[in-house]
Symmetry: C2
Subunit: 486 residues, 2 copies
């Protein structure tokens, strides 16, 4: 009976063991471990699994039959009753998040909700920085995945080793030239997405308690990550077109002990700013002079609206102090979790921390992306999505101008697919987030992009999707904002 | 010129800019960024990428042509010369590791080499705990992956969200009943392998400086992980058939502040021990009395040689203190990186740390494993591999008895596929590791399984593979061991 009592669930005051067994099985059925029409454990099996007698299980199953939860089928076993379509207890995870908004939300709660709502189809997706599946090379990539896993059968199921799949690293090194970087495959380590690359970078160059200089506003995921790693952040103001302020960073370096600097150099999230070549050079020189590592996120760099993509700050790295992080999550396949890092002098430490975190990156995913890059589909695909995202961000910016209250300003990025909206001071973005959620629309409120709760009247909108439904949602959020005018 | 000088490589004393450009391009060619027969950047492209003039690039390409490294093809561009088959500088990563053994190796070096040689086909694989691809359901899984990514096209490329793919969690919850656990899908979080599950567990239940009680000997990857996380380990003796000593653990708890306990409860790596139900119950009760979390690795639990798989310690968990970690890396596909954790009261913290480490687990991988579990292939597959691994471990144990020096003992595990070999005291396992490597054979020397360098005369052998070549390798290692007799 020890094992039976041991599983979490409703506290039981029942005396009979068989009733307890029945209660546990009923819980599994209502919570989705077994679904209507499916066979549950045999009497013998459950007896063995729970360490109770056959007669106890038979009594429990008899009770469940009487309650209409299961049915016996001759010579086949016990099944969940098929007409049991809506379980009396709703499943926790199935509650749409807009129905579950508590009255007061912390910034941290909202970040978790934003990260958790990425695939929630019930919400209009203005919140996450999400590409529309229609702008991902789904058919081509799916065929490529099938082809490479057939071709490299044994390899595709086997452990890969650090620094990761050689053919993928070769493709990445080659493409890095378009960003002004002369890298060989050996300079690159593959990761489970750009987010992991940044996480490993912070853990390698900082110790708990250290301070990281970050551009502000910055992607809320990085702020949460910094906090979780026990690091301090110092916010350096960033300009909507120029990016991080070099003089302000210089001032911070003079007055604080800074262990690393983290920027999204090209089409930053959320501002959409793109640092000029001169700014990048100045940034690297300023940090290098003090031997401060730069963690550079270039995840949006390939989605530029002009013909040539911008270079990266790493192109100016003379001391191996720049850890360049990127991935294919915004351009090819978010769900494949294929990213990479060129970590300069920190490469060996990155490899070690990566292998001790989760081993090498998943094999078939790497093989598929490598093949997709090698067979030339990527450049064609980029040309298409650059045009589409340029149009979508412009259209959404116009919609903001049309529907948001007077005094609102919106960015006009030259790449990526997020917009930063600054509303009049009377707009409370956290309230606007909750009201939008109630209207079935997800937005990213300004304060989540700051450790100090700045940007109270700002929000980030995702232009990864565009349709009349999206345009209507922008109009609704605009009206909700306007209605806040005192 | 700043950017050109900025990339790591051979120090240059050349005066001419074009010579520096040529040198850098030559480096990329010899290091594999561009391979023989492939087109390199256009003159215009390289000029823009490096921020140098067109004439500089043309002069550089002229020099590379004269050196025989590249060739111009009319109206097409510049290509790496196809006859350039063996680059004069060998590529760093291509050196087989058995040719690169330094004279004295630290235990930590050896661990990194072991983790790095998992896919090295030049070595006879007695080192890693690796399943043979022939014992993985490669064809079935490859077809399943193709089918699910075609069926769930948009979903398969999109971000998943925590706690992970619902269909996979449902299958895992259902199968957990065979291990004596009544879990619902909501109790489970998917991860990039069991290794990530253990890593997240340690980070959630411990702070740097804390002490973890571990069974000894234990998988070297966990020891390296514990060290990297800034934790202390205290080694609790483990018995070759019974597993961790409960009285010794009780003594340690009385005399030290223990923050967590980590065990591989079923068919432990390296001993192959399987704790009895009574031991598991006693372990959970001992730890629960002090509110100490138990991190339980069950990665080998499904590979039992008897008909019914053993239950897990989590089956006795009354307080939600057991974090049960497992994966499909030993049974289905190491390279897919699909694992999971049932973390009890720590679930929310695990989800948060996971999403801030690398987001949700890769989507197509989860979909494929879920479908493979759901369509019934897994049980059939398990029946087959249980029989084969039982035979292979028995055959390898016999080979050890035949070929190792007198006084050697070897385990007879009832599941999994590793053997623990204890040689006479005169055998130095670290030396044996180096000598075996020189003979093209990878083994795992005893001292890597201990923080204190114990088990000097022991080694772990992988019985995941079996063939005359493997048997011969066991004989060679045995002879090398025998030759150490003074």
């Amino acid at each position: 009976m020890d094992r039976l009592e041991s599983n979490p669930g409703v506290e039981s005051e029942k005396i009979n063991l068989y009733e307890q067994v029945a209660e546990r099985m009923a819980h599994l059925i209502t919570e989705g471990t077994f679904r209507p029409g499916e066979r549950i454990s045999s009497v013998r099996g459950l007896s063995r699994q729970l360490g109770v007698s056959l007669s106890t299980v038979m009594a429990a199953y008899g009770l469940l039959e009487n309650l209409g939860l299961i049915e016996a089928r001759p010579q086949s076993g016990y099944y969940v009753r098929a007409r049991l379509k809506s379980p009396s207890v709703p499943m926790k995870r199935e509650i749409p998040s807009h129905a579950a908004v508590p009255k007061t939300l912390s910034v941290s709660d909202i970040c978790v909700m934003l990260l958790g709502s990425l695939s929630n189809r019930d919400l209009v997706p203005l919140g996450g920085a999400l590409p529309s599946p229609e702008l991902l090379p789904v058919d081509r990539l799916t065929r490529t995945l099938s082809a490479v896993t057939r071709r490299f059968k044994n390899q595709s199921v086997s452990y890969d080793v650090l620094p990761g799949c050689k053919t993928l690293r070769t493709q990445i090194a080659r493409r890095a030239m378009t960003a002004g970087c002369l890298l060989t495959p050996d300079h690159i380590v593959t990761t489970h997405g750009c987010f992991e690359a940044v996480n490993l970078s912070l853990r390698v160059v900082c110790n708990p308690g250290d301070t990281v200089a970050i551009e502000s506003p910055i992607f809320y995921g990085f702020l949460q990550m910094i906090q979780t790693l026990g690091l301090q952040a110092i916010e350096i103001p960033s300009h909507p077109t120029e990016g991080i302020s070099i003089p302000a960073l210089g001032y911070a370096i003079e007055h604080h002990k800074i262990s690393a600097c983290l920027v999204i150099s090209n089409f930053s999230n959320p501002l959409g700013s793109c640092m000029s070549d001169e700014s990048k050079k100045a940034l690297v020189e300023l940090l290098s002079a003090q031997d401060i590592p730069l963690i550079e996120d270039d995840i949006y760099g390939d989605i530029c609206f002009q013909h040539d993509r911008p270079i990266v700050a790493k192109a100016f790295d003379k001391k191996g102090l720049v850890l360049l992080c990127s991935s294919f999550s915004k351009t090819v396949a978010p769900g494949y979790r294929v990213g990479w890092i060129a970590a300069g002098r920190f490469q060996e430490q990155i490899e070690r921390l990566k292998v001790l975190s989760n081993g090498a990156t998943a094999t078939p995913n790497q093989l598929a992306v490598a093949e997709f890059l090698a067979t030339g589909g990527y450049d064609h695909h980029l040309r298409r999505i650059r045009r589409v995202y340029a149009n979508q961000t412009a259209a959404m910016a116009r919609a903001v101008e049309d529907h948001f209250p007077k005094g609102t300003s919106v960015t006009r990025p030259t790449g990526g697919f997020v917009l930063w909206v600054e509303c009049p001071n009377y707009v409370n973005a956290l309230k606007l987030y909750e009201m939008s959620l109630e209207a079935g629309i997800s937005i990213a409120p300004g304060p989540v992009f700051s450790i100090k709760g700045k940007y109270q009247n700002c929000l980030r909108l995702n232009a990864g999707f565009w349709s009349p439904r999206i345009e209507n949602a922008v109009a609704i959020v605009g009206k909700l904002a306007a209605a806040m005018k005192p």
